[in-house]
Symmetry: C2
Subunit: 208 residues, 2 copies
DNA sequence: TGTACATCAGTGAACGCGCGTTCACTGATGTAC
DNA sequence: TGTACATCAGTGAACGCGCGTTCACTGATGTAC
């Protein structure tokens, strides 16, 4: 009884914290994270403005938590998909995983692509680090792709990640039924970065 | 005398308008365009808050003018450079022109890369259109490059522009002396997109 | 030529509003003895 | 076991502040006759 109650308390706090994070994403998707206020988030999350301080010192701290927790999770999943993909399908698997993330949580993806180039330097730096991890996973997955090519420049994987998130931004501005049209050109471009061999080896994966 | 005076009036108005645009860029570079206020811009430009309305209805209209005029100008210049470049040097000329723009007007470039993925849908749409024009110029410059290859997919030029502005965002976060290191990997990535022939034909242009 | 009127960029006072933050408090729960 | 104290998420009142916007005005210049 005692333990259950104390656990419920912790879960309650976690639930409110989560509500604040989601509220910030929801509002940020409408008019940008930079112009979302503490009171607005608290209102959307259903708590008093003063209760906000029980969870975050200010909106910047909340934003950092968004990147570390929600964005970090999505990026880790993408990395795992790339690493686990069968040889020759790494790129298409990664693209499909990105499109799935856009469909499943557009508000989070909007936040990520916006803050990657946004106003807060701290947000950009944190996101850049997490995207570098994804690029590293992709690089590993592609060099161990097919026969063990090893000379793939790191720049290729980083550029591929750039194209991936640029396409995510584009997808967010298209109505869902039109998003599928982005898939093939994106896969083609990313494969170009990995050079002609990768392109050839991967064409088994299936094109139009 | 009469004509001179009326002309001076118009020039005065143009000067104040320009001061508002520059002030918005300057403040936006610090804490993001979305959170820059009308009063703040007027203060920075040296006019009374109420005078703002003599030039723009609101901050959104000012932002659209920034994109149409200042950003549009930079993008047109980049396109002209690409078109005028000698065959085989289109990519490196474009990259150098971008790096020059970053060095010359970092506040404008910050605005462009931020609002490309930013909160205002109208800004994104307008910038996307202008970037598409640049991609079209680049496509033209590359297909008439060397011998008249014509089969280059439009996706290649669009992806190249994505990489170009992604690198601009990265350059803005580096101290100026370290920006040169971005040049070669970026050129390499962009040339990969244009396929092996373009890569080979262009390698006369000079690498490290 | 002079006179009367129109235009228009810039202004200062004033408005109501929502913001971030502080404060002292409540009430449920955990801890010490 | 009961009692006293500590912790801590959530609260409502209150603060001072800067915001966007309105209004009526000034003064320089252009236009009509």
């Amino acid at each position: 009884m005692v333990l259950r109650a104390t656990l419920e308390k912790k879960q309650d706090k976690e639930r409110v914290r989560g509500a604040l994070l989601r509220a910030a994403l929801r509002l940020g998707a409408v008019h940008g994270f930079a112009s979302v206020g503490l009171r607005e988030v608290a209102r959307e999350a259903g708590i008093a403005p003063t209760s906000f301080y029980r969870h975050f010192a200010d909106m910047e701290e909340l934003g950092l938590a968004l990147i570390r927790e929600l964005a970090g999770h999505v990026l880790r999943v993408l990395g795992e998909r790339a690493v686990a993909a069968p040889p020759g399908e790494v790129v298409s698997v990664l693209v499909d995983a990105m499109l799935a993330a856009v469909a499943q949580d557009p508000e989070l993806m909007r936040f990520m692509v916006a803050e990657r180039a946004g106003a807060f330097e701290g947000f950009r730096a944190l996101l850049r680090g997490e995207l570098a991890v994804l690029a590293h996973s992709l690089h590993g997955a592609c060099t161990s792709d097919g026969q063990g090519r090893s000379s793939l420049p790191a720049a290729a994987a980083e550029a591929a990640v750039s194209l991936l998130f640029d396409a995510a931004a584009r997808a967010l501005d298209e109505p869902p039924p039109r998003r599928a049209a982005l898939r093939e050109p994106l896969i083609w471009s990313m494969k170009q970065l990995f050079g002609p061999d990768a392109s050839r080896a991967a064409s088994e994966g299936g094109s139009p």
